[in-house]
């Protein structure tokens, strides 16, 4: 314990000294780590961050619903459902392949351009784009989880008289979600970062606010602060994700049934 603390401090000190002795350190310090600008920009940045949190909130709900729907459609058997299954599969393949930023541009600038909808703020289209992208990943994770539920569980549920839909909702989905908890948590953490991308559509979120301040002061400190804010809000979830995977791994080792 003591040794690890000491060696950590020593390493940090070496890195610190190396950095501050570099040729351009003074310049970098001035334009990236200016405490006055950091403090002054904080209120605006927090206001921007609030938009990101809202986007995240709605995107999570959207993904939870849409991804579950897609996952369920992909597990439906029977020839009748072929067209639906095919569409769902095509959707996941497509959206897992396209970079988020392109989806954002296509949705955020393309759909409003059609003139089908009343004017909606860019964060709305940004949220839709995130939902579309992340649902493709999350539905695959969910599907894997559902398929890992032992077939006898369905049998047991159906033998009790539960309908297909009840079996799915009460037995297969909850068990499936548990099996892929860590993976879902990781997707959530990466979505937390990607909400910053709504700024490319012009939404005044934390990233864009930082940009505005940056151009007024010709100083990059607001970006550093914005980055720290992202770390701050995602850190608890990152810990939870790690804890979940560790627990899942322990269960696997003792052969638990869940």
């Amino acid at each position: 314990m003591l040794i690890s603390a000491a060696s950590t401090i020593a390493l940090a000190a070496v890195l610190w000294l190396t950095v501050i002795n570099t040729h351009g350190w003074a310049e970098v310090q001035r334009s990236f780590f200016d405490p006055k600008i950091a403090w002054a920009s904080l209120p605006t940045l927090l206001l921007g961050l609030w938009l990101n949190v809202q986007v995240l909130f709605f995107a999570v709900i959207g993904v939870a619903i849409f991804a579950t729907l897609i996952a369920v459609v992909r597990t439906l058997r029977g020839a009748v459902f072929f067209p639906l299954r095919f569409l769902a599969a095509a959707y996941t393949d497509l959206f897992r392949g396209i970079p988020v930023i392109i989806v954002l541009y296509l949705i955020g600038f393309g759909i409003p351009g059609l003139g089908l909808f009343p004017r909606l703020p860019p964060e709305f289209w940004g949220t839709i784009a995130l939902i579309l992208t992340y649902s493709a990943y999350v539905s695959e994770v969910l599907r894997a989880g559902m398929e890992a539920v032992h077939p006898s569980q369905r049998l047991a549920a159906r033998s009790l008289g539960l309908s297909h839909a009840q079996t799915l909702r009460m037995i297969v989905l909850p068990q499936g979600v548990r099996k892929v908890g860590p993976a879902l948590m990781n997707d959530f953490v990466s979505m937390q970062k990607d909400v910053g991308l709504v700024s490319v559509l012009g939404a005044v979120d934390v990233v864009r606010s930082a940009g505005i301040i940056e151009s007024t002061y010709a100083n990059f400190t607001p970006y550093v602060v914005a980055g720290l804010l992202f770390v701050l809000i995602s850190w608890p979830f990152i810990r939870v994700a790690d804890w979940l995977s560790a627990r899942a791994q322990r269960r696997e080792q003792i052969g638990g049934t869940v």
Partner: protein, 244 residues
Amino acid sequence: MTDQPVLRITNLHKNFDGVPVLRGIDLDVHQHRVVALIGASGSGKSTLLKSINLLERIDDGQIFLKGEDISDPRVNVDKTRARIGVVFQQFNLFPHLTVLDNVTLASRKVHGVPRDQAEETAVEWLERIGMRDKLRTYPDRLSGGQQQRVAIVRAITSNPELLLLDEITSALDPQLVGEVLDLVSELKTGGSTILMATHEMTFARKVADTVVFLKDGVLIEQGPPEQIFDHPQHPETRDYLSRY
């Protein structure tokens, strides 16, 4: 009451990918009776039980539950299954639900019993099997014997007209078999109608009213346990039992 059997099976045929697994089974199970299905591995016992519970589609023949043809494709499958209790060899319980929720799930969601009433019944039963203190426990914390007893309780709390048991002790350590079989004997005393596949010959002899011997999907012989075990009429039955 008339003498109508709870379960009547006539000329039941079942194939898997063209391979016959059940070949013309005729069988009656009367009210308050325990019928034991015996036969080698692969003889079709599980397939027969699953067919009765409509978990397998049959190819020919009819199955009547209290006179109603449940093999008719127009029958409501979920409603019919709700009238029949089933316990399988293992993996019966839902690992994400507590013992109490496992037991009450079907009552609440299928039979529409209010939660407090369903829980009251469940607690009574769990008390009877000495598991009152396990209400909030998850199945992975239970012994195999406890799991199977909870599964049995779950199958009977909604008063099924027929109880199907498929080798419910064969995945258990020998010292846990007794407690599960005791519960089955208790159900017989309580008047349940039971059709069970089993390898426990001593138990079958003790509690079954009728023993049915199945071989390669054919019902070779049936009769009271004394007849089947002590004076089997058919050479195939004799041959099979000589190995026990």
